[in-house]
């Protein structure tokens, strides 16, 4: 019988430009924040394991072994520390490995930290570095990038289901509104539909990045870190923490073909569906039980496609729900209450952990005014690695559930 795993501490840096800082310092800031939240900073050497999620510090910062660096920066030696890499899903994979360590009984207290500093290089170089996760011969060497994939995926979806660029802009308006209320968001500026879609200046203000994807349908390049402190809720050590743990009810991952063109239907995100199904089974819940969700909207189209794959909406219908405001805060199923990757930002290795931090904040009732979901019971996140070829789904529940 696996142990119950709870989250007792959360930490987060303000996402944005931290390029003048060392990656380990950025991660240490989030880690300290989580330990302070759990009132465990002074006892940090009692932690059994540190797991770090990071995608490409070697490329972005010319720095390796960041887990060792973090532990040293935190003055935590001899706590064991390892690095987990799974592209932009590195953060959620780190949570999954941390969960496994606690659930298996190997560890009682695990610190999970996700972080990335991407802005030491230009946006173009960062885009190239991220693109190295694509299939080398079939995709990367052909000049494909993630925005290019996002653009093609959007075009296919538009042709099949009737999505418009204005629908994508509606998502941006929603997520920027949420991000503007999130203390940790990279972009805290609301935008209007008139300005980015309907008005005479919209085509320039909201220019194409990879047609039909525009700037306001694409996440920014961000720096930042987020951290969680996991604890075995069945262990006597759990009593050391004052805050009621938020329980990890389900966590699962799945893979799909590395080459997107090998998929039977390029619009299907099988790894998302499978990871979500496994997480639902583990949690004993279904899509209707989820109160709110954080979905990996590196490109706005992904918020729609993922929300359909995890069963929130019928295929090809999610954008109609967005039009009706169902995914707004206060709507039937709020999505990306943090602002999502679009407004909160996307430091690739940090994103999965950041999504989990948002689940905890919402479930604790600690989100900022105007951003808090009413009485949430279950929160779900989906962290997307590659172009949907390695995906992690996480479901968190209020402690009493």
């Amino acid at each position: 019988m696996p142990a119950n795993v709870g989250i007792v501490g959360i930490g987060h840096t303000r996402f944005g430009n931290s390029s003048e800082y060392d990656l380990a310092d950025v991660m240490a800031y989030a880690a300290s924040d989580a330990l302070q939240d759990a009132e465990f900073l002074e006892r940090r050497r009692e932690i059994d394991q540190v797991i770090v999620g990071n995608m490409a510090s070697g490329l972005f910062c010319h720095q390796s072994a960041v887990a060792s660096s973090l532990v040293s920066r935190m003055d935590m030696e001899p706590v064991p520390a390892e690095l987990v890499e799974n592209g932009p899903a590195s953060g959620a994979s780190a949570i999954k490995i941390g969960y496994m360590a606690v659930a298996s009984g190997m560890a009682d207290i695990v610190l999970v930290v996700g972080g990335e500093v991407m802005r030491k290089v230009s946006g173009w170089i960062a885009t190239d570095h991220v693109a190295t996760m694509l299939h080398t011969e079939a995709e990367y060497n052909m000049g494909l990038t993630l925005p290019a994939f996002g653009g093609m995926f959007t075009r296919l979806y538009m042709e099949k289901y009737g999505l418009t660029e204005r629908d994508l802009a509606l998502l941006a308006v929603k997520n920027h509104r949420n991000g503007a209320r999130n203390t940790y968001a990279h972009i805290q500026l609301p935008c209007t539909i008139e300005a980015i879609a309907d008005g005479p200046d919209a085509a320039v203000v909201n220019n194409y990045v990879a047609e039909p994807l525009r700037m306001y349908s694409t996440c920014p390049v961000s720096d930042g870190a987020a951290a969680l402190l996991l604890v075995n809720m069945d262990s006597p050590k759990a009593r050391d923490f004052k805050k009621r743990p938020v329980r990890i009810a389900g966590v699962a991952s799945a893979t799909d073909t590395h080459c997107v063109h090998n998929r039977k239907d390029p619009l299907r995100l099988e790894a998302v569906r499978l990871a979500a199904e496994k997480a639902y089974r583990m949690a004993g819940v279904g899509p209707k039980d989820i109160s709110f969700a954080e979905l990996h909207d590196a490109f706005s189209i992904l918020e729609l496609a993922i929300s359909e794959e995890v069963g929130f909406f019928e295929r090809g219908k999610s954008f109609l729900a967005v039009r009706r405001g169902e995914t707004d805060i206060g709507g039937r199923l709020p999505i990306n209450t943090s602002g999502g990757l679009k407004a909160k930002g996307h430091p690739v290795g940090a994103t999965g952990v950041s999504q989990a931090v948002e689940l905890v904040r919402q479930l604790r009732g600690e989100a900022e005014e105007g951003r808090q979901v009413k009485n949430p019971k279950y929160g779900m996140s989906v962290n997307f690695g590659g172009f949907g070829n390695n995906v992690v789904a996480l479901i968190c529940a209020k402690g009493e559930d």
Binding site: S122, T192, A195, A203, Y208
Partner: protein, 228 residues
């Protein structure tokens, strides 16, 4: 020689420049930014706007601010030939300033772009307005451009795919020093004008009125806790 006569000698010869017609741009936030030429009598307000940024090293605000300060003083005191200044104002509050100089009928010399209100591509819009004035209004064939920050380099050299003329140094050199000179040619401008430059003319009376009196910003994202 009287002081007045000496002053005349100190002033460079000026070519009367065609005015830059105001326009209004709706920023992503929904705010209306009026883009118009600054008037010489507004120099004090412009200098007061820039001054606090002289002490901000982040993103090279210090060097851009201090150089623009000098350019504005030079403009005010008639020490620079054919300089023009364009401002962007949201509800009258200065959001950004650009400076530039008409060298000849064929050549423009872009000086500086300073963005105060960040995150809404104000600088990009004002830079485009400056190029619009050089190439569309003043009829120059090309504009020489340098960048003093990586942000500037990304926004102008890379996004506009400017021609790199650094190999022609010292025959081709920007007035701001020996840094590599890049060039926006008419051909390049025509290729990007529609995706870089926007704005509505004539500006509705109410919007124009809002920008009639320029206001110094009361807060700066670059200077947390700033108080004037």
């Amino acid at each position: 020689m009287s002081i007045d006569e000496m002053e005349k000698k100190l002033r460079p010869p000026e070519i009367p420049l065609k005015p830059y017609l105001p326009k209004v741009i709706t920023l992503a936030s929904g705010e209306k930014m009026v883009v118009r030429e600054a008037r010489r009598e507004e120099t004090g307000t412009l200098l007061g706007t820039i001054y606090p940024l002289i002490g901000v090293p982040t993103d090279f605000y210090d060097i851009v601010a201090v150089r623009m300060y000098a350019e504005l003083l030079g403009w005010y005191r008639y020490r620079v030939a054919n300089e023009f200044v364009i401002v962007g104002a949201v509800n009258g509050v200065i959001a950004g300033i650009v400076t530039s100089r008409h060298v000849s009928s064929k050549l423009g010399m872009s000086l500086h772009t300073l963005t105060i209100k960040r995150g809404l591509r104000v600088g990009a819009q004002l830079f485009a307005a400056k190029m619009e004035h050089h190439l569309d209004d003043l009829g120059e064939e090309e504009v020489h451009i340098v960048a003093e920050s990586p942000n500037g380099f990304k926004r102008w050299m890379i996004e506009y795919q400017l021609e790199d003329r650094s190999s022609q140094f010292p025959e081709v050199r920007h007035e701001l020093g020996g840094v590599p000179t890049y060039v926006l040619t008419r051909k390049l401008w025509e290729a990007v004008r529609n995706i870089k430059c926007t704005g509505t003319r004539p500006v509705p009376e109410q919007d124009l009125k809002s920008a009639e009196r320029l206001i110094m910003p009361s807060e700066y994202p670059q200077i947390p806790g700033f108080k004037r």
